[in-house]
């Protein structure tokens, strides 16, 4: 099975299902593009449209009238970027400590981290909501950023990465040169694990960008929400009336993510696979 020399028919038999799979993967994106270029009366007519129409700009204008698209996109960007930055900093610091240093209580603390990893989110939703309401963060982006600023998955994943990527000799040498902990972290550890940081960063960003349940609950001011919540509002109020606008919103919301993915695809796909096989 490793080599497929010759036999064109075999190649076709292999590539045909793969191409069909690719088409199925891509179809919803194509469908969103088509729908976003038609007016709602065109969309509701039969048979379904399969070629682009001429109403895209009109739909975009109506979309911007219906929701504060750029305001909510800014909120999403703010949340996703802040969380990504904080996660990279806190997770890599903690991972560096767990991977390369010995100290009293280390094993218990790491064990605790693994237990936390498995606690499902719903259990903390209500109390988290109550706390946020008490300290006045409900309705603001802070309610999304702070609880997500460090996570067990990232620490665990970075620790595995750092264990092999950072050589002990390098750390010893830097110590002899008089480097303290922060210098070791900044000048020895970080440069070596840059690919790992890229993976964790892209993954965190996409996860935050797409997060829906908690923002839906905690962002109680309908005029100040993230993009996903704004989209769902759009779907709720216009859902059955103007699909052209809703589709345009969905399409425009997908674009920033597709850009991030296009830039980091190699990293994401490669490292995800590595982690799964190792785990």
């Amino acid at each position: 099975m490793a080599s497929i020399k010759g036999s064109r028919r075999r190649g076709l038999a292999l590539h045909l299902p793969l191409i069909i799979g690719t088409l199925i993967s891509a179809f919803p994106f194509y469908w969103a593009v088509i729908m976003s270029t038609h007016s709602s009366s065109e969309i509701f007519s039969y048979p379904p449209k399969l070629l682009p129409g001429t109403h895209f700009l009109e739909n975009v204008r109506n979309l911007f009238d219906a929701i504060d698209f750029f305001g909510s996109m800014w909120n999403s960007l703010l949340v996703a970027t802040s969380v990504t930055f904080l996660v990279l900093l806190f997770d890599s610091l903690a991972a560096f400590v767990f991977a390369k240093f010995e100290f009293p209580g280390k094993n218990a603390l790491f064990g605790l981290l693994m237990v936390i990893f498995m606690v499902p989110a719903q259990l903390s939703v209500i109390p988290q909501f109550v706390i946020m309401a008490k300290i006045g963060w409900i309705g603001s982006m802070t309610a999304l950023i702070v609880p997500a600023a460090a996570n067990a998955f990232g620490i665990f994943w970075m620790r595995q990465y750092m264990k092999t990527a950072i050589h002990d000799e390098l750390l010893d040498a830097s110590k002899l040169d008089g480097a303290n902990f922060l210098r070791q972290y900044w000048h020895v550890a970080l440069p070596v694990v840059r690919p790992g940081l890229a993976f964790l960063g892209i993954f965190t960003f996409m996860g935050q960008w797409n997060d829906f349940a908690w923002p839906l609950i905690s962002l109680t001011n309908p005029d100040n929400v993230t993009l996903q919540v704004a989209l769902s509002q759009l779907n709720g109020t216009h859902g059955t009336t103007d699909y052209g606008i809703v589709m345009t919103g969905a399409l425009l919301a997908l674009i920033p993510l597709l850009i991030v993915f296009a830039i980091g695809a190699k990293q994401i796909i490669g490292d995800l696979a590595k982690g799964a096989v190792r785990g």
């Binding site: 039969y46 009293p104 109550v130």
Partner: protein, 317 residues
């Protein structure tokens, strides 16, 4: 949970009778470096989990005073037909999505493993559905499965099958949600399977071919047994995420029921466990019962994961 009491960051703040002070001075920077996670966890993880347990023994609307309820929330949970309905829905949707997904992902991985050309292009294309936001793509799927102008019914019509009211019938709703999940996760899992396949030494396949084994035989005798660890990983992850599905049914069905945006469509037939949790908590403002529902969900997910684990582990070993 008792572990946290002994954890050094807590100890570090007050003088400890057991730990020597010199040790703390020596290691303080290490504790400081790991402290953000544990501080966040204390505030938004451990306290909430404890509080939700406390809450589940009370009656509370989130505003007034709490009232002790003993075990009555849990007693009610056990007899709550809506909760059982949501468990049933969740498991059916999970099964409808997971088994086709694993099957398709494995086939895709085997094909990708032998197709040398365009491998990276295919991997990119198959991974794409996974990075898109569930909200946006659920909106798109809602229109693809729309009764009157959707693509799926148009295809069915073209081959002479009557149109199906996908988002208005109990099975149609479940199939639509499952189709969305399958679409979003097949490529992701195919890439994980592919990575597993690439660890299988090619000599094994050579040897099988020498012995005259066909592709089907090779798959069942060599590929599948060696993929078992990866299969276990995929199955556990899909169980934990699939049983907690929320966004897909919420976005697809939020407008199709009158009582609540978390109702899961006509007849609650797309209401998953987590949707039911949100409905009880935030639409009915029943925080105490909501907490009990959350613990119920936790139990179901743990039990189900253990069963899955056992099934995959035992087969063959």
């Amino acid at each position: 949970m008792a572990v946290i009491e002994q954890s050094p960051p807590v100890v570090a703040q007050r003088p400890s009778p057991t730990g020597p002070k010199r040790g703390l001075r020596k290691y303080w920077h290490l504790y400081a470096a790991i402290s953000p996670f544990y501080l966040i966890f204390l505030g938004f993880g451990l306290f909430p989990v404890g509080f939700s347990l406390y809450l589940s023994f009370h009656r509370w609307d989130g505003l007034g005073s709490m009232e002790w309820a003993g075990l009555s929330q849990y007693q009610y949970l056990l007899t709550d037909s809506d909760f059982w309905n949501s468990i049933g829905n969740t498991i059916i949707i999970w099964a409808l999505a997971t088994f086709p997904m694993i099957f398709l992902a494995m086939i895709t991985a085997v094909m990708l493993n032998s197709a040398v050309r365009f491998k990276n292009l295919y991997r990119f294309a198959y991974f794409l559905p996974n990075v898109t936001s569930v909200v946006a793509i659920a909106i798109v799927f809602g229109s693809i499965f729309s009764t009157n102008f959707g693509m799926v019914n148009a295809i069915l019509n073209a081959v002479g099958i009557d149109q199906i009211a996908w988002l208005n019938t109990p099975w149609g709703i479940k199939v639509t949600i499952a189709a969305l999940m399958t679409w979003q996760w097949t490529g992701y899992n195919a890439i994980i399977f592919l990575a597993g396949l690439q660890t299988v030494p090619s000599e094994l396949y050579e040897a099988a071919r020498m012995d005259g084994a066909g592709p089907v035989q090779t798959f069942f005798k060599i590929t599948l047994p060696l993929l078992r660890p990866t299969l276990l990983f995929v199955l556990v992850v899909s169980t934990v995420t699939g049983l907690q599905s929320f966004s897909e049914p919420q976005v697809l069905l939020q407008t199709s029921s009158n009582d609540s945006t978390f109702a899961g469509g006509p007849g609650h037939s797309g209401q998953t466990m987590v949707l039911y949790f949100f409905q009880q908590t935030f639409d009915n403002n029943d925080f105490g019962y909501g907490a009990a529902v959350a613990w119920g969900i936790f139990l179901v997910v743990v039990l189900f994961s253990i069963i899955n684990w056992r099934l995959v582990q035992r087969r063959g070993d």
